[in-house]
C-alpha cells in the first residue's frame, strides 16, 4: 500500500522540509551570476576539498548524534591527529624539526599510527559514556580539553611545518588527470569512498541498525538483545577514526599544523549534520543528508567570503544558521500534534 508521490509533489515536500538547503542553493545560484570568479574551477576545487574534509568529521560525529549523544572532542581530535601526522612526517633536512634525530617515516605507516591513536581516543570516549555512564556532553567536553592539553605538550605549542614532499604532493594531487581533464582532487575521492562505506554501514549492517535502534529507544534496544554498551563504544571509536583521517588530510592540505588546528570543527560538523536532517532527538539521519548539510554549511562560508562580508560577521551568520537549523528540526516533531 505504498503511496506513490509525483515528482513535483516530492520537490515541494523537500523544499518544505529543508528550507535552509533550498535557501542556500538559491543564494549560491545568485552568486554564480553576479559575483566574478564564484563559478570558477578554483572555487569549485576549494569548496570540494573543504567540504570533503568536513564531511569526514561530520560522518564521525553523526553516529554520536543519532544515538542521542554528541562529541565535543571532535575538533581537538582532528587537531591532535594533524599534529601527530605533521611531526612524524617532517623532512629530515628541515631545520625546525621537533625530533631532529628521528628517521624519516613512511606516510602510510604514519597514517596507520594516526588512525590507531584516533581509535584509542574514540574508544576512551565510548567507555566513559557507556561504562561509566557519564552524559556524552560532559564526557566529551572533558576529553576535548584533555586532548587539547596532550596536543600542546606534544608539540610544545610550536607550529609544525616542513613536511615530506611525498605526503603533501600526493594528498594535494589529482586522480584521473589527462590532457583534456583537470582531474579529481584526491580529497574528493576519499570523501566519495567514505560516503560509500558509511552508506553501507548505516543501511546494510547491524552496526547501523543498532545505532538507529539505540537512538530510537535505548532501553527497548537493550531489551531486544542489542549490546548497547558495545555499540556505543564502537560508534565513538569509529568517530575517533574519522577525526584522525580528517586530521591527517588536513595537515597535508594546509602544509602545516598547530595545536590550534581543528578548533570549533565539532560545532561545524554538528551543524552540518543537523542542517542535513540528523535529528537532535535521536534515531534519524542519513549519509546523503549529512553530505548535503555539510556542503550547505561550506557554501555559506564561501558565499560570505565572496560577498566580502567582514569575516567577523561570519561567525554570527554561522551561529544563526545552526540555531535556525535545530529550531526547524525540532519544529518537525513538535508540529506533529
Amino acid at each position: 500500500m505504498k503511496t506513490k508521490q509525483s515528482i513535483p509533489r516530492k520537490i515541494v515536500a523537500y523544499i518544505k522540509g529543508n528550507p535552509i538547503v533550498v535557501a542556500m542553493i538559491l543564494v549560491a545560484l545568485y552568486c554564480c551570476f553576479t559575483v566574478d570568479n564564484f563559478a570558477s574551477m578554483a572555487n569549485f576545487n576549494n569548496l570540494a576539498s573543504n567540504t570533503s574534509v568536513r564531511f569526514l568529521i561530520a560522518l564521525g560525529v553523526s553516529g554520536c548524534l543519532i544515538t542521542k549523544g554528541t562529541d565535543l572532542s571532535a575538533g581537538r581530535q582532528v587537531g591532535l591527529a594533524a599534529c601527530i601526522a605533521g611531526v612524524l612526517l617532517q623532512r629530515a633536512d628541515y631545520t625546525g624539526r621537533l625530533f631532529p634525530n628521528m628517521p624519516e617515516m613512511n606516510m602510510w605507516v604514519v597514517l596507520l599510527i594516526v588512525l590507531a591513536i584516533g581509535c584509542v581516543i574514540g574508544c576512551i570516549n565510548g567507555i566513559i559514556i557507556s561504562i561509566l555512564n557519564v552524559p556524552p556532553f560532559i564526557a566529551t567536553l572533558g576529553t576535548q580539553t584533555i586532548v587539547y592539553g596532550t596536543c600542546l605538550i606534544f608539540t610544545n605549542a610550536q607550529p609544525i611545518g616542513g613536511f615530506q614532499k611525498a605526503y603533501t604532493t600526493f594528498l594535494n594531487g589529482k586522480l584521473f588527470k589527462t590532457e583534456g581533464f583537470a582531474g579529481i582532487p584526491l580529497y574528493l575521492v576519499v570523501a566519495v569512498i567514505f560516503f560509500a562505506i558509511f552508506w553501507f554501514l548505516y543501511n546494510k549492517t547491524t552496526y547501523g541498525k543498532y545505532m538507529y535502534a539505540i537512538g530510537g529507544n535505548e532501553n527497548a534496544a537493550e531489551v531486544s538483545g542489542v549490546n548497547t554498551k558495545k555499540s556505543k563504544i564502537l560508534i565513538y571509536t569509529v568517530a575517533g577514526f574519522m577525526y584522525a583521517m580528517a586530521g591527517y588530510l588536513l595537515a597535508a592540505k594546509s602544509g602545516g599544523a598547530s595545536s590550534g588546528l581543528g578548533n570549533g570543527y565539532e560545532l561545524e560538523a554538528i551543524a552540518g549534520s543537523t542542517i542535513g536532517g540528523v535529528s537532535t532527538t535521536g534515531g534519524i539521519g542519513t549519509v546523503g543528508g549529512i553530505l548535503v548539510g555539510v556542503l550547505v554549511f561550506e557554501l555559506l562560508k564561501v558565499v560570505l567570503q565572496f560577498l566580502q562580508v567582514n569575516p567577523y560577521y561570519n561567525y554570527i551568520a554561522q551561529g544563526l544558521v545552526i540555531v535556525i537549523a535545530v529550531a526547524l528540526d525540532i519544529r518537525k516533531y513538535v508540529k506533529k500534534k
Binding site: A213, A220, E222, V223, S224, G283
Partner: protein, 503 residues
C-alpha cells in the same frame, strides 16, 4: 442551566495516513459519569486530547456551558475547568507532591511587598487539604517518585480537583490499580459527581463501566456510534456495538497439550531484599503458565530478572535440564527466551523508527549476507508476513511505529519476538490497554504458539484473562510464589486468597 455541560460536534482529526476522528461527537451532562468506549484506535484518546487542547481539531466545534469555545492548549482548558488524568502519567518524580500539583500555577506572595516568590506554606497547606478531599493522606512534601503508581494517580486527580474542574477526563484510570485502590477511586468519583463535576471515564473494563457510569458513548473507527443510558446496556451489547459484530467468545478454544517440563527456575532471588526471593517454578512444553498477583507482587521484576534486565543474587534457570547463564537480555535471547515487556513506550517501541526496523531489531543477525550485509529483501518478507499474520493495521512497513494505535504497536512487538522463534515466551501484560477485538486476536496468537510447543509465561492483572487462558496459574505475593492452581480449577476467589498471603 444548560442541559449539557460540554458538547463536541462533528470533530474530525487526521494524522498522516490515518483518519483518527471522523465526525465524532460527545455530550456531557453536569454531575454525571460518562463512559467513553471503543476498541483501541477507535479515537477515544484522540477525542479527549482535542477536548483538552493537546490536539488541534481539523473540523468541528466544542460548546462549553452553552458557548462555543476554541481551545489552543491544555493551560487554557485547565483555566476553563477541563482537567485530564492521562493514561500514561507524566509526573516529575524528583519534585514533591505539592509542587507537582501546583506546577505552573504556584501560589505566590510578595517579598517586601515587591519581589514575587512562591508561597510554599500556602502551597503545602492547600495540598494537604486537597489530599484529604481525595481521601489520600500522605506528606505533601514527599517526593512524588517515592509513591506507588496508584498514589501518583490520586495526586493527579487531586491536581484536577484543585483546578476546580467542571469536566474531568479519566483515561484508563484503573489499569494499574488493585481492587482496593479501585474502590477508593470510585469513592472519589462519587464525591466529585455529587459536587456537580462531569466525568469522562475511559476504560476497557466492562464491570467498572456498568457499575460507575450514567451514560455510555461508544465509538468505532473514529466515528460516533451512539450514546445510551448505562442502565440499558449489558457487556454483550457494549461489545457488539464496539466491534460492530457479534463476539461469540472472549477467549479462543485452545488445542495446546502441555508436554514434559522444559523450563525450570530454582531458588531465584533478587539482589534487592524487597523484591522477588526463593522463587521455584517450572513450565512445560506447550503450556501457558499464568502469573497472577496484586500490583507490587514483584511479578514483572521476577520476569525481568529471568530475562536479564534485572540482576539476581542466586538461583538457576534451566532449559531442558541445561543450566543457562543470563546476565543481560542478549544472554536470554541467545538461549531462546523472549520477553514482551510491560511498558510498551519505555522498553518496547522505538518511536521514530519504521515498523520494519522495529520488527527486525532482535533478529537481524539471522538475515546477514556473508555475515556482514543485511538482506533487506528477506527482512521485508519477514515484516510483510508478520503484518499479515498479526493483522496489523498500518499504511506500510515504513510507517513510524509511533503513529500506530497501542494495539497495533503491541502486535508489532509480538512480531519482533516471533521473528526469533523463541522456545520460551514471557508476556508481561500482553493485552494491557488493548481493545476487545485485538485482545481476541492476541489470545489466538498465544494459543497458537502454545500449540506449536512453545512454553508461555503470561503475567496478567486481569483475572478473566488469567482464568480464561492459563493451563496453570502461579500466584505471587510480595516477592514470593504463594501457590499454583490448575487452570480448570482457578477462580477469582482462590487466586485472590493466594495473592493476599502477606507474611
Amino acid at each position: 442551566m444548560q442541559e449539557y455541560r460540554l458538547e463536541m460536534r462533528g470533530v474530525c482529526k487526521s494524522f498522516p495516513g490515518v483518519k483518527a476522528l471522523d465526525h465524532a461527537q460527545l455530550r456531557l451532562r453536569p454531575g454525571t459519569v460518562h463512559a467513553l468506549m471503543g476498541e483501541n484506535g477507535a479515537g477515544k484518546s484522540t477525542l479527549m486530547k482535542c477536548m483538552f487542547g493537546i490536539y488541534e481539531m481539523d473540523e468541528g466545534e466544542v460548546i462549553f456551558e452553552g458557548k462555543p469555545v476554541k481551545l489552543s492548549g491544555p493551560l487554557e482548558a485547565l483555566e476553563m475547568g477541563i482537567a485530564m488524568v492521562h493514561q500514561e502519567l507524566q509526573p516529575i518524580p524528583a519534585r514533591t507532591v505539592g509542587e507537582n500539583i501546583f506546577l505552573g500555577r504556584y501560589p505566590m506572595k510578595k517579598l517586601f511587598g515587591i519581589i514575587p516568590m512562591v508561597d510554599h506554606d500556602k502551597m503545602y497547606a492547600d495540598t494537604a487539604a486537597l489530599l484529604k478531599k481525595v481521601r489520600m493522606e500522605f506528606d505533601p512534601k514527599q517526593p512524588l517518585g517515592e509513591l506507588s503508581v496508584s498514589q501518583m494517580q490520586s495526586v493527579e486527580i487531586a491536581k484536577a480537583v484543585s483546578a476546580n474542574c467542571k469536566v474531568l477526563i479519566l483515561d484508563e484510570p484503573t489499569s494499574s490499580l488493585t481492587q482496593n485502590e479501585v474502590e477508593a477511586l470510585f469513592r472519589i468519583i462519587e464525591d466529585l459527581k455529587a459536587d456537580g463535576v462531569s466525568i469522562v471515564y475511559i476504560s476497557h473494563k466492562m464491570d467498572e463501566i456498568l457499575r460507575i457510569s450514567d451514560e455510555v458513548t461508544i465509538m468505532r473507527d473514529g466515528q460516533y456510534v451512539g450514546t445510551w443510558d448505562a442502565k440499558e446496556l449489558t457487556t454483550d451489547l457494549i461489545i457488539t456495538r464496539m466491534v460492530g459484530r457479534e463476539l461469540a467468545n472472549l477467549f479462543p478454544h485452545r488445542e495446546n497439550v502441555p508436554g514434559e517440563v522444559v523450563f525450570e527456575v530454582e531458588d531465584f532471588t533478587s539482589i534487592n531484599p524487597r523484591s522477588f526471593r526463593d522463587v521455584n517454578f517450572n513450565v512445560r512444553k506447550g503450556e501457558i503458565l499464568g502469573v497472577a498477583g496484586l500490583v507490587g507482587a514483584q511479578r514483572t521484576e521476577l520476569m525481568e530478572g529471568l530475562f536479564g534486565i534485572r540482576s539476581h543474587s542466586k538461583g538457576t534457570i534451566k532449559y531442558q535440564g541445561k543450566e543457562m547463564v543470563i546476565n543481560r537480555p542478549k544472554d536470554a535471547i541467545d538461549n531462546g527466551i523472549a520477553m514482551l515487556t510491560e511498558d510498551r513506550r519505555a522498553t518496547g517501541i522505538m518511536g521514530v523508527l519504521s515498523i520494519a526496523d522495529n520488527i527486525s531489531v532482535a533478529s537481524l543477525l539471522k538475515y546477514l549476507h556473508f555475515g556482514v550485509a543485511i538482506n533487506n529483501k528477506k527482512i521485508e518478507e519477514l515484516v510483510q508476513d508478520n503484518i499479515k499474520k498479526m493483522n496489523t493495521k498500518t499504511p506500510s512497513s515504513k510507517t513510524p511505529i509511533q503513529s500506530l494505535s497501542g494495539g497495533n504497536q503491541q502486535k508489532v512487538l509480538i512480531g519482533r519476538w516471533l521473528a526469533n522463534d523463541p522456545d520460551v515466551l514471557i508476556l508481561d501484560e500482553p493485552t494491557r490497554g488493548i481493545d476487545v477485538g485485538a485482545k481476541y486476536e492476541i489470545y489466538t496468537i498465544i494459543a497458537e504458539l502454545a500449540k506449536q510447543g512453545k512454553s508461555i509465561i503470561m503475567i496478567s492483572s486481569e483475572m478473566a484473562e488469567i482464568i480464561g487462558m492459563s493451563d496453570r496459574v502461579m500466584v505471587m505475593c510480595d516477592g514470593r510464589v504463594t501457590g499454583f492452581i490448575d487452570g480448570k480449577d482457578a477462580t477469582q476467589e482462590n487466586i485472590m486468597e493466594l495473592a493476599t498471603q502477606f507474611e
